[in-house]
Amino acid sequence: MNFGQFLLRRLFLMVIVLFGVACIVFFIANVIPADPVGAILGGNAPPEAVDRLKAKLGYDQPLAIRFVNFITGAVRGDFGVSLKTSNPVMKDIMNYFPATMELALVAIIISIFLGITLGILSAVHRNKAIDQFSRVFSILGVSMPVFWIGLLLLLVFYFKLGWLPGSGRLGFFTNPPPRVTGMYLIDSIIAGQWDTFKEALMHILLPAFVLGYNATASIARITRASMLDVLRQDYIRTAKSKGLRKNVVIYRHALRNSLIPTVTIIGLVFGGLLEGAVLTETVFSWPGLGRYITTGMLFLDYPAIMGGTLYIALIYSIANLIVDILYALLDPRMRM
């Protein structure tokens, strides 16, 4: 199989996965015993008003027809019109996604730095205080709910210490930078607004840390395990015995090799970050796609929920596709 065939096969699989996601999203949204019309009008609305709105929204049509409409629309990037915002869902997604993407990117950067640092330190100082700390830190990271740790950190760093701001992407009285990417950190650099950049950075630290905490913990544990494994290898003993400084051995010889599984993990946790954004954005008042989907859920805004979920699935699939293609380019055997 040549590369072109491999690519085709991958694209085909991606389409199947997305179709599967679309089916699940559609049927979950439509078989749960909830009534969007009732949600809009309230429980005490007269039945005539209920029927009028049902017809207006197309909910009087059979499920199969609605499904076909949904799929054909989704293929064209048209997820319909949000019941709540009256905007095309795609327009809303484009509006909210940059905030989520920015949060996820900063979260992954924080996780990589923090996770690898902790992993190395605990491997090098195995069973010492730093290792124990890292262990507790990691267990908390994978076991504590995001909203709880989020509120706890807000209580400490915002409420008690006043070091970091308490909500949102910027101060209440700061104007966002001119929109280019929709990501404030990047847009403020483009516009040369350094104060805005600093403010955006302060605002993103806590939510990004919380969002990435779980990922940090996984990265730290994986790095530690593989570092320990590598440190036992013969070539490390050789390096040490030929008189190299300890740091050179650790950072240049051991770290490079031990990071391989870590990189794999980083790819995998990125999907989790997009997903975790739903809760983090609520706790930190972050106006992103996660919050858009949550408010859509409370309103039973099915076009928004289905469109938003499908879009996240698409981004995740694309990320995976890129990784697969990279692997394939690097290692021809992957195309088998």
Partner: protein, 556 residues
């Protein structure tokens, strides 16, 4: 299909390419030195972060609220409680609501005065001259006519008042709502409703007056400017909508062309803070002036801070236990009376609602014309047992108690179940998702139900029709209480022009309903906020919340 396996070393080698990137970034050439500087940089970042956060500006009220409920700012369409109060700050109306001596009444806004025809059907409104929209355009009868017709033509959900009560619909709207001259409009109703009802309904936000020319400039596909008005404003109210980023911020600024006095606050900023706990933190730190959605527990905690004040006003909803008056033992009025004497109402208000509720047993809310200040029911198990024996159920009976799946409702159901058990009535609780519960309720398929009723205009008529007139097909009908005496009183009260007589009618109706109706009213809801102590007159502004909130009264 797994991409990588740890055993496959050569496969892993290919990823070294990627990991090099990370290493180069992270370690560089002098690994340890770089790490040290990384830690130093982190520390510096934290130090920079330790900066002060200023209090909110004196002329700006910053509100922290969950704005997830905000759908549109179009007065013809907006229907939710809080969004409607923002819309009310943007748009002037013919008449608006105001709380006078603790009673919510309609008062003139841009209608200076009005005449009612002898048959009570036609209201002619004289519009104040010299009123301007926020952009400086003069407000005339043409704008009023356009604005009143708009919700009807758009078949807006919130215009059901006009359609279902006043009988004004798409087909007859041109005859029913007319422009007489540049400063006069008339509205013709299908029945001679009492003035307080008509004006109460007209004070709903769907009558907010929009600038016809501006709105039509932005019309798309015959939507009468609906899409544009979703997040823009073209009104003559005290404030102008200058910014709305959904799930982020809503910003109002004082309207320089407002016909009335300029409000003390130049700006109202509503920040979207979905988490109530976070609202509390921001409030105590002084980043927001008002926390809109605190839970009772959070408010209790925040109140310990001397800078935080609690504000409570009566709400517009009630919570009730209703009994299907055609089902088994409940068909007997004595059994229903026994149920009413079995419940410990105080404990529900204190223990379940943590005093965020008012003990009101009539169907007319406190704060309304016609409110009856009498609560005849209390827990008296002996009396309840005696009534049950009289009715032929000395050993009680078994009944299904339906309610929806909120924590409050579940707690109420358990409490009532325990209270009824004291009288020998065995209630089996059935919890349903709200929409399912209402479907069963509408079909009269329940035996007993705990539910609530939200009100639409501040007149006893609205409540009487729901709770006592089965012909209105609302709550009395759902509970199969086909009582013609009560229904007739309701219909009389609706058209009686003399306010004193009306008051007496509702008093008589309440008295009759107490002991014959299918309800045990549990409480009236209360609205509450946590505010900073610098915020002045918030309670005056908030009295009547649900129906009204007057931002022009608040100052700092």
């Amino acid at each position: 299909m797994s991409i990588l396996s740890d055993s496959d070393r050569r496969k892993i080698d290919s990823i070294l390419f990627c990991s090099n990137f990370v290493i180069t970034l992270y370690v560089g050439k002098g690994g340890a030195r770089m790490k040290r500087s990384f830690i130093l940089i982190s520390l510096m970042v934290l130090l920079v972060a330790a900066m002060g956060f200023a209090a909110t500006p004196k002329d700006t009220l910053v509100i922290g609220a969950n704005t997830g409920i905000f759908i549109t700012m179009d007065p013809a369409v907006a229907y939710e409680v809080f969004p409607n109060k923002i819309v009310a700050a943007i748009y002037a109306q013919l008449v608006k609501l105001e709380a006078i001596d603790g009673v919510i009444v309609p008062v003139p806004d841009i209608a200076e005065s009005w005449e009612i025809s002898d048959d009570g059907l036609t209201y002619t409104f004289n519009i104040r001259k010299g009123v301007k929209f926020s952009n400086g355009d003069a407000l005339t009868a043409e704008d009023v006519l356009f604005s009143l017709k708009r919700p009807v033509v758009l078949e807006s959900v919130s215009a059901w008042f006009l359609v279902d009560i006043f009988g004004i619909n798409k087909d007859n709207v041109d005859e029913k709502i007319k422009q007489i001259d540049d400063y006069t409009v008339s509205i013709t109703l299908n029945a001679p409703y009492a003035e307080n009802i008509t004006l109460g309904i007209l004070s709903n936000m769907f009558t907010g007056i929009v600038n016809k020319d501006v709105v039509l400039e932005h019309e798309v596909d015959g939507d009468l400017g609906g899409a544009w008005l979703t997040d823009h404003s073209a009104g003559a109210g005290p404030y102008v909508l200058v910014q709305w980023e959904r799930n982020n911020v809503i910003l109002l600024e004082a309207n320089p062309n407002y016909y009335g006095e300029q409000p003390p606050l130049k700006r109202i900023m509503i920040r979207d803070i979905p988490e109530a706990s976070n609202q509390r933190l921001l409030l105590e730190r002084g980043d927001i002036d008002v926390a809109w959605d605190l839970t009772p527990q959070l408010l209790e905690e925040a109140k310990r801070n001397p800078d935080i004040v609690e504000v409570k006003v009566p709400g517009h909803s009630n919570e009730y236990l209703a009994m299907n008056a055609t089902w088994g033992p409940l068909a007997n009025p004595k059994v229903r009376e026994a149920v009413r004497f079995s419940i410990n109402y105080e404990e529900i208000v204190e223990d379940i609602m943590l005093n965020n509720a008012l003990l009101v047993q009539g169907f007319i809310n406190k704060g309304y014309f016609g409110y009856v200040e009498e609560n005849p029911f209390y827990q008296d198990i002996e009396k309840a047992k005696a009534l049950l024996a009289e009715a032929g159920y000395p050993d009680g009976f078994e009944v299904e108690l339906l309610t929806s799946n909120t924590d409050t409702r579940k707690a109420e159901a358990e409490k009532i179940q325990a209270d009824l058990a004291l009288s020998g009535i065995k209630a089996n609780i059935v919890i349903m998702q709200s929409s399912q519960m209402y479907a069963k309720y509408r079909a009269q398929g329940h035996q007993m139900i705990i539910a609530g009723w939200g009100n639409d205009y501040p007149d006893p008529d609205n409540l009487a029709m729901a709770h006592a007139n089965y012909r209105a097909k609302q709550l009395a009908w759902r509970n199969a209480w086909f009582d013609d005496y009560a229904a007739t009183l309701c219909e009389w009260g609706q058209i009686e022009p003399n306010p004193d007589k009306r008051e007496q009618i509702y008093k008589d109706l309440t008295e009759y309903w107490f002991h014959n109706g299918p309800f045990a009213m549990l409480y009236q809801t209360v609205e509450f906020w946590g505010i900073r102590k610098e915020v002045k007159n918030f309670e005056e502004a908030a009295f009547g919340y649900g129906m009204l909130f007057d931002f022009t009264k608040v100052s700092k």
